[in-house]
């Protein structure tokens, strides 16, 4: 049924709310990619079976991901009038005990992570109820306490495959407001007042970009969503699309209306099949309900969205390469100017924004640009979603106000290094970013401040590293990636990155020579300043920041042929400590090259000429007798 007036929208909202508050227990299993990978779909099936066997009247649903990846699979349980409970680390075998407890209006205590008494979806507030005082509050959990959910407001709480739940929490009301009572210029003013900056990494003022595209000349205009999220370790956009696809669609609708675009394209990387599936379903549902397509909400505004898939090229995250790809060409960037706002897709004015940028739009319309600008710091307004990964205890997606110090993210939300180990550095911005040493963790997540430190905000990946990470190896890893992904159009990136990679390889093999660092720095400088696009321009960042902050590691590799982090195979030796070895022969048996010799119950020794440093012996030794030097 196509919605064309407020009454119809209100009616659907009531239908949606009835699913969230069904007047009976509701179980919702977190089923985004990670939830499924940890067995969430098996949990769902097991719960379904168990409920059917007992003939219980329970509303079973799917939700997306609330972002606490370390604790997955996550399951939400709500009883009428009681708080929503989030259960964590739910396995298939827990299904019966959960259903058992359900019959008593309870949940297995050891599975309960936290309770939610009320939740602000920003487009509306939901009150669940009080009770379960022995379960910690959502805001008591350190991981959640320091977060501020604007973009992730619905993720993990509503069913991404049901548009009615999105409308139930107030979704598509901002679109209604925009189309029925605001002019395109007023919308752009609101976005400008919010001071929202592009969340893809460059941080260009969104309102300004929209106004340039609106003013540009062209018989047709386009809006594009860049969902090519290629940075290894970054998956914010993936979750945004899998857990709440409608906020993206709504954002693009409002933007298209403001800019004067008739067609939109969402360019999703092919490696995100779940996101593609959820988006296709959401687009279909939006059309069915008259929120997309011809005559939206009964007005004469028409807008269609096409889903275009990538085919395995990181460079297509660059906006002009993305446009080329959508046009059926290889993803080779084009010189700018002209900028896409003037001449983009099919030569027409085009506004490209990242997934997360679009997702902020409905709330800016709902609450106003000034409200949005109250979060964050000077010139850095709003929040940013980060993927906190690597050698950190709490791995997951984190949304904080811009300007939050890195230390709070890593230590208070992340709970410090894995296994209590000391953190050495963290990398922001993926292969385009830089490594920031622990001594600079008071740096806030701020576009300008991160740039000063030598890194960039990027799309939001934060990779945590400890003492076991070799910074030279890290630089080599990133350069290998960018070199592989280079489109090959311009020589500094195509040839230059390969040359830097080969020199770093040499260094990690112990064949570094004096002068290598100077050649690397010289090349990196030219690659940064002369490359055609941001891939080449930023690829040297990991190398330059590691040289800047960890030069001593490079010098140890080159001068002393030593790897301080004990990672580079050519520069380390495995040795068995005689006083710890019990002669159990386990290591000798697993050694793939028979490099370990020794009699039963006598200390063993490793022949360094045969040893391949695979680490198998260290893995199996129960006496910590194997050390790496």
């Amino acid at each position: 049924m196509k919605i064309s007036n407020l009454d119809a929208l209100d009616e659907i909202k009531q239908q949606g709310l009835k699913k969230i508050f069904p007047g009976k227990p509701r179980i919702a299993v977190g089923l985004a990619t990670c939830g499924i990978a940890t067995g969430g779909d098996l949990v769902f099936e097991a719960l379904k079976d168990s409920l059917e066997k007992r003939g219980l009247d329970v509303y079973l649903a799917k939700v997306g991901c609330i972002g606490y990846c370390k604790e997955e699979p996550l399951v939400n349980i709500s009883f009428p009038g009681k708080p929503l409970l989030i259960l964590h680390r739910v396995k298939e075998r827990d299904a019966n005990s959960i259903v058992e407890a359900l019959t008593k209006g309870d949940v297995p205590e050891e599975k309960a992570l936290c309770r939610i008494e009320e939740w602000d979806h920003l487009t509306s507030k939901l009150a669940y109820g009080s009770g379960f005082e022995n379960v910690p509050r959502y805001s008591d959990i350190p991981y959640f306490r320091y977060q501020k959910k604007l973009v992730l407001r619905n993720c993990g709480l509503i069913n991404p495959e049901d548009i009615e739940e999105y409308i139930g929490i107030g979704g598509y009301y901002p679109l209604f407001k925009a189309l029925k009572s605001m002019s395109p210029e007023e919308i752009i003013e609101e976005v400008k007042a919010s001071e929202l900056r592009g969340r893809g990494g460059a941080g260009f003022p969104t309102g300004l970009k929209w106004s340039i595209t609106r003013a540009a000349n062209g018989s047709r205009k386009y809006v594009i969503c860049n969902a090519d999220e290629g940075d290894p370790g970054a998956y914010m956009n993936r979750n945004e699309m899998e857990s709440d696809p409608h906020m993206l669609i709504e954002g693009m609708l409002i933007g298209a209306y403001a800019i004067g675009a008739q067609e939109g394209v969402i360019y999703v990387r092919a490696e995100y099949p779940k996101a593609i599936e959820r988006l296709e379903l959401a687009l279909q549902q939006a059309e069915e309900y008259g929120l997309l397509g011809d005559g939206i909400l009964g007005t004469n505004f028409s807008f269609h969205i096409t889903l275009a898939k990538g085919a395995g090229a990181f460079v297509c995250g660059e906006e002009t390469a993305l446009i080329s790809s959508v046009e059926g060409k290889p993803g080779r960037p084009r010189p700018r100017p002209p900028f896409p706002a003037e001449k983009g897709l099919w030569g027409m004015p085009t506004n490209i924004n990242n997934v997360e940028t679009w997702c902020n739009i409905p709330i800016i319309i709902a609450k106003g640009g000034n409200w949005f600008a109250q979060t964050g710091t000077d010139k850095n307004k709003g929040t940013k979603v980060f993927s906190l990964v690597g050698k950190v205890d709490n791995v997951g997606l984190v949304e904080v106000p811009l300007g939050t110090p890195l230390s709070q993210i890593v230590y208070e939300i992340g709970n410090g290094g894995t296994g209590g180990k000391k953190i050495k550095a963290l990398q922001t911005g993926g292969p385009s970013g830089g490594c920031i040493p622990a001594s600079l963790f008071d740096t806030p997540v701020d576009y300008e401040k991160l740039k000063e430190a030598g890194s960039i905000m990027g799309s939001g990946g934060i990779v945590v590293m400890d003492a076991d990470t070799c910074m030279v190896d890290t630089a080599k890893f990133f350069i290998e990636f960018t070199s592989d992904e280079s489109c090959g159009k311009c020589i500094p990136c195509k040839e230059g990155l390969q040359m830097v990679h080969e020199t770093l390889e040499k260094i990690t093999r112990g064949e570094g020579t004096q002068g290598d660092l100077e050649v690397i720095e010289d090349l990196c400088d030219t690659i940064q300043k002369t490359s055609l696009c941001a891939l080449g321009q930023t690829a040297p960042n990991p190398v330059l920041t590691t040289i800047r902050y960890f030069r001593s590691e490079y010098e140890a590799h080159i001068r002393d042929h030593k790897c301080p982090a004990k990672q580079c195979r050519a520069l380390i030796t495995y040795r068995i400590l005689e006083d710890k070895c019990t002669g159990c022969t386990l290591c000798a048996r697993v050694c793939p090259v028979a490099a370990i010799t020794g009699e039963l119950r006598k200390p063993h020794s490793i022949n360094p000429d045969l040893c391949t440093k695979c680490g198998s012996c260290k893995d199996v030794c129960k006496f910590d007798a194997v050390i790496v030097e």
């Binding site: 085919a311 395995g312 046009e327 059926g328 897709l345 793939p592 440093k613 695979c614 198998s616």
Partner: protein
């Protein structure tokens, strides 16, 4: 791949934006790879030069221009495996499968498929199963401690027959 199937795929992709890549992806999904004849036919049907289609197929990592076998055998090339005889395992497999490695593909990856499209043989960097060197992986399952003599037994589990 039948021309009717290609015509059908083309007919379902009318919007210009994202059209070419989507058509190529569907052809690959149906045929397992991008057959040359399909590209030649597609070129004629949609009026895009073959050179442009080939350019797309070689630019994007997802496209395969060589058919991929039903079973994929990957030989680990890690250091431990290398020292434990991985090159011998690779040669033995080439002989058993009747594949000859003449040249590597332009992207320096090694991948060959038997004529009956039953097996594809390729290599990978390191699986991390070094204590079981030399290691091979067939359809995701890891086999360790391999010798040339043990290989026929493993291959037979996947329908291989001695010639």
């Amino acid at each position: 791949m039948e021309q009717e199937k290609i015509d059908e795929i083309i007919s379902r992709h009318r919007t210009a934006s994202g059209r070419l890549l989507s058509i190529l992806e569907e052809i690959q999904k149906a045929a397992g790879y991008l057959p040359k004849q399909s590209l030649v036919y597609l070129s004629k049907q949609i009026g895009v030069p073959l050179s442009q289609l080939y350019s797309l197929a070689t630019f994007y990592s997802f496209f395969e221009l060589q058919p991929v076998g039903r079973h994929i055998i990957t030989v680990c090339q890690g250091t431990a495996c290398h020292v434990k005889g991985a090159p011998r395992i690779l040669s033995a497999l080439e002989d058993l499968l009747g594949i000859k490695r003449e040249e590597t593909t332009p992207d320096r990856k090694f991948s060959l498929t038997t004529n009956d499209l039953e097996f594809t043989l390729n290599t990978a960097r390191c699986f991390g199963a070094c204590s079981m060197a030399p290691v091979i992986r067939v359809d995701g399952k890891v086999y360790g401690y391999n010798t040339p003599e043990k290989l026929p037994q493993i291959l037979k589990r996947y329908g291989w027959r001695e010639k």
